[in-house]
Amino acid sequence: MKRIIALIICLVLMLCAVIGLAEEAVVLDVLWSGDAIQMAAIESVLDAYTAKHPNVTFNIIETVYEDSNAKIQTMLAGGEPPAIARVSDTQVGLYKPYALDLTDYVGGTEKFTSEYMSNLDSSLFTYNDRVVAVPLYVTHNGLVVNKDLFEQAGVAYPTAEEDIWTWDEFLAALNTVKEKTGCEYGLLWDVSVHRWATMLYQYGGRIFSDDRTSVVMNTEYREQSIEALQCFVDMHQSGLMPTSVWVGGGSANDIWYAGEAAAFWCGTWGIMNFMNVVDFEYDIAYTPVKVQRSSVIGGHYTMGFKDCKYPEIAADVLAFMHSKEGDNIYCHDTYSLSYRADSADLGWDKATDMLLRSRNELDNTPFESVNDWMFADVTPTLMADCKPIIQAAIAGEMTVEEAIDEFAVVAQDALDVYWSSK
């Protein structure tokens, strides 16, 4: 009898221990950068996870995007990485060796990859064929137009595929809007090589060869590269675009917010924020065509880190963020496009038309663009070192031909560093 009682007590104690373990309160550190809309959205996603797993809560560490690299590196070097962090497409490559392996949590690499857009390069979120990052949302380099100024000038902009304008028509339209409305500039363009590259592909150019072993922009594609950059320089020198932004370090956003530009070539990820700042109507128009349509895919990812406190739970949270439910909460609330193939239209109220045009631009982005920019090990160098080259061409410090040659040298150096590390 004593033995039976002792056994029962042991079993009860074990059961209590198991229940206790199962419900151990867990707090995961989440390093996140973003505006108010994005911060609210990640809270909603994490709340949805907590609703399913009440013992798991989150400590969101907010950081500005510019400092996120330094912050992650410091936390990693200090041996206390965050459980989860948001990283951009140019950062994701840096942290792959330190990332959590999510493969088993998302149903395997093949299944995971098949759930995303077809022209997405899966090498961006895999490492040694293992899934190490979850795509968060996709954006494209697009064209936002000041609807009021276009209407005032009586100029139409394309909102249907069959009306897509050529580069000549596009430039003529911008000049007309500028002349008729008296706005300061026809076009603004984010200061970023990634953004500039959009027109490189539209002009038929590219940076790297298919196998990414050599730079072709100054060899087989030299003519197209020069033509694209020459057009960009001409737009500045003619006064259609402000030199203060690309050369003088001025803010394109400030000019846009002031309603002094007809159009803004920018990443479309944050266009809903314009709504809170500007007092004019705006819209997304299709970008122009020279020899082909193109955009440049950009986006953000979510990663976990191997040495974090609760790796298994972090991986489970990331699997939830990958699921249609988690993905759709974030993308819907932030007015973003989802990377998921089954989530093209999330019904974003009045932004739906604009975002579906964005999606169409992405669907019509050629391989060359994806090949060049979904190459996270090299893009940080392109972004940092090629920008001054384009600026120098605009400022007239070097010819367009010299700039393309210099660009190619920098790109080749970046490739050499990459391949020598393999």
Binding site: Q73, Y98, S244, V247, G250, P380, T381, Q391, A395
Partner: protein, 298 residues
């Protein structure tokens, strides 16, 4: 018994200075000494900022060779040197004259306060304030040009003008700090020298050049050393004002080091650059100290 006590007191006396120095020594070692040593070690390795110790390997002088062959590094170093050569004399002379003026004018405390207020503003805010003044599209200065129907200069789009704007902003924000050092030095000069000079018929300017300037030698040495160190470490103000542009025309060493280390994740190269900068500042400080004979009056 007396003898024993004397020995005990003597040992305590010997230990006292070390105990007083110990807290500072520990703090300096932890926050400066060890990071400096780590930086020096990393500069000879392939460290990328994230590797574990087992992955780090020594690469000799490779990082230093790479860095010294980099046109971007040479350009940043040249910009920094040009900036230091320009701002140090401007700041020193400006602070000295301002201090002299405020000691000449009765009840000039308000002038000192006015000159010192910008020192209390953060470097980033100073950069943004001056950007609002010189911005091509929205700057106060250019708005005045436009309202007068004049063509406005493109201050931040021309390398030489942007450089001048950086000097103006730096001078405005820091001259008050060095002025205070000079005011303290001037007020420590005995009035007897000036009274004797006045009896001998010396003018105000002669008193300034023959008495004030020579007797401020210890302050000159300190101001110059601090000024040079500040100039070589310039970053936040310049970055907020020009973003290092136009076309890297105002990119200083610290900005380049930061971008190399964190944007491109070449931490070892960044450390090599930081070491070069450290030894350059150290060398210049030693030279200034030696030339100024430690600030001793002759």
């Amino acid at each position: 018994m007396k003898r024993k006590n004397r020995i005990a007191v003597s040992a305590g006396d010997k230990a006292a200075p070390y105990l007083f120095v110990a807290p500072n020594f520990v703090i300096l070692t932890i926050f400066y000494g060890i990071p400096l040593a780590m930086g020096l070690i990393y500069s000879f390795t392939n460290y990328d900022g994230l590797m574990s110790f087992s992955q780090i390997s020594f690469v000799g002088l490779k990082n230093y060779q790479t860095v010294l062959n980099q046109s971007a590094f040479i350009r940043a170093a040249t910009n920094t040197l040009k900036y230091a050569v320009s701002i140090v004399p401007l700041m020193t002379v400006g602070a000295l004259l301002l201090a002299w003026l405020t000691t000449l004018i009765k009840r000039a405390y308000w002038l000192r306060v006015l000159a010192y207020v910008p020192v209390t503003i953060s470097a980033i805010a100073v950069g943004l304030i001056w950007r609002w003044v010189f911005d091509t599209d929205f700057g106060i200065l250019n708005s005045m040009f436009y309202s007068l129907g004049l063509e406005a200069p493109r201050w931040l789009e021309t390398k030489s003008l942007a450089f001048v704007v950086v000097l103006i902003a730096t001078l405005w924000s820091r001259v008050g700090y060095f002025m205070v050092l000079y005011v303290s030095g001037i007020e420590n000069i005995s009035q007897q020298y000036y009274e004797a000079a006045t009896i001998d018929g010396a003018s105000l300017w002669q008193s300034f050049t023959r008495i004030t300037i020579p007797l401020l030698k210890p302050t000159h040495v300190m101001v110059l050393i601090l000024n040079v160190i500040e100039a070589f470490k310039a970053y936040a103000l310049v970055y907020a004002l020009t973003r290092g542009g136009p076309v890297n025309g105002t990119t200083m060493m610290i900005q380049h080091i930061y971008e190399t280390s964190f944007a491109k994740m070449r931490m070892a190269q960044g450390n090599a650059m930081a070491m070069l900068l450290f030894f350059a500042i150290l060398l210049l400080t030693i030279i200034q100290y030696a030339l100024g004979k430690g600030g001793e009056l002759e």
